[in-house]
């Protein structure tokens, strides 16, 4: 390939996506929106993992695709996290009749 994509571009894209997801976690009030922003951050981390796998040379004992396997595990954990998170949000919604995170203040003094 004559003009390949520099590695930095992927990293900048991932950093920007991560920052947007962080802003979403901090700014949004609905619990499901917060969960979506967390998903954005996890995906940004996945892009970083795969980019470093493709552009770097893995060490000898790591096998042919360490970054891809790690991204696979991240996807697995994210799926489990969303399932449990939605269950907890439904439970809280049933108890407080709201899905806003600032309403769940039973333990705040």
């Amino acid at each position: 390939m004559a003009s390949d994509i520099p590695l930095n571009w992927f990293l900048y894209f991932a950093a920007a996506s991560f920052s947007i997801g962080l802003v979403g976690v901090l700014v949004r009030r609905n619990a499901i929106a917060v969960l979506m922003a967390i998903e954005i951050m996890l995906n940004a981390a996945n892009v970083n993992l795969v980019a470093f796998w493709r552009y770097g040379n893995p060490p000898l004992g790591a096998g042919p695709l360490p970054g891809v396997i790690l991204a696979l595990f991240v996807i697995t954990v994210a799926a489990a996290e969303v399932a449990v998170g939605i269950g907890m949000i439904l439970l809280c919604y049933r108890r407080w009749h709201a899905a806003d995170v600032d309403r769940y203040d039973s333990m705040s003094g």
């Binding site: 994509i5 520099p6 949004r28 396997i69 996290e81 939605i86 407080w96």
Partner: protein, 226 residues
Amino acid sequence: MVQFLFLVIAALGLLTALGTVLARNLVHAALFLVAFFFTIACQFVLLEAEFLAALQVLVYIGAVAIILMFGIMLTRNIQGDDTTIVTAAWRIPGLVAGLCVFVILAFGINSAVAPAGHSYWSESNMRPSIAADAGSSKATAVRREAVNNMARTVGNELMTRYVVGFEVAGLLLTVALVGAIALAHREEAEPAAPSRGEQPARRTSASPQPQAAGPSLVSSGASPPR
């Protein structure tokens, strides 16, 4: 050409991420999130990890987005969609925090730090070739095999080198399945969730329909069932 394609996909990804964060309507936010997942899959294709791109589409768009949609439908806000963004007093610190994190990450990407004997990774403009020419080494052949037959290689790796992580991931998924069902299981004695319309109370006065959710309900009415 590839660079132009990357720029288009990255711009679309950032726009859809912004749409997910900023959209007031939660359903619109979820649809933006689906588009964002798809652009991430496109990034994986650009990085020659097609198996991971297929997995991204299957797991994220096929499962996670649908679960989020179900969550949105089941927890529809009674007051409407106006309360999904916090007040302006919290918006500015959130934006400042995100901007600071991006600046720090960009500084880390720019500053060239390399272990001894390696070139600076921030200056790597060309990915390692996997072409099958005469001068290719054994590592290149291994990588070419991994890229061209990624599904088979991932399966072999999961069954040999990463078998412990694979088992732990399976256990985690089982626990998450059981836990989600246990969390969302509705007790029979619990009063029904308030419906949107003005329905007559189906039960007797022992379990009155809750009024509009207010602070009094949180403080006094809702005692956690043990």
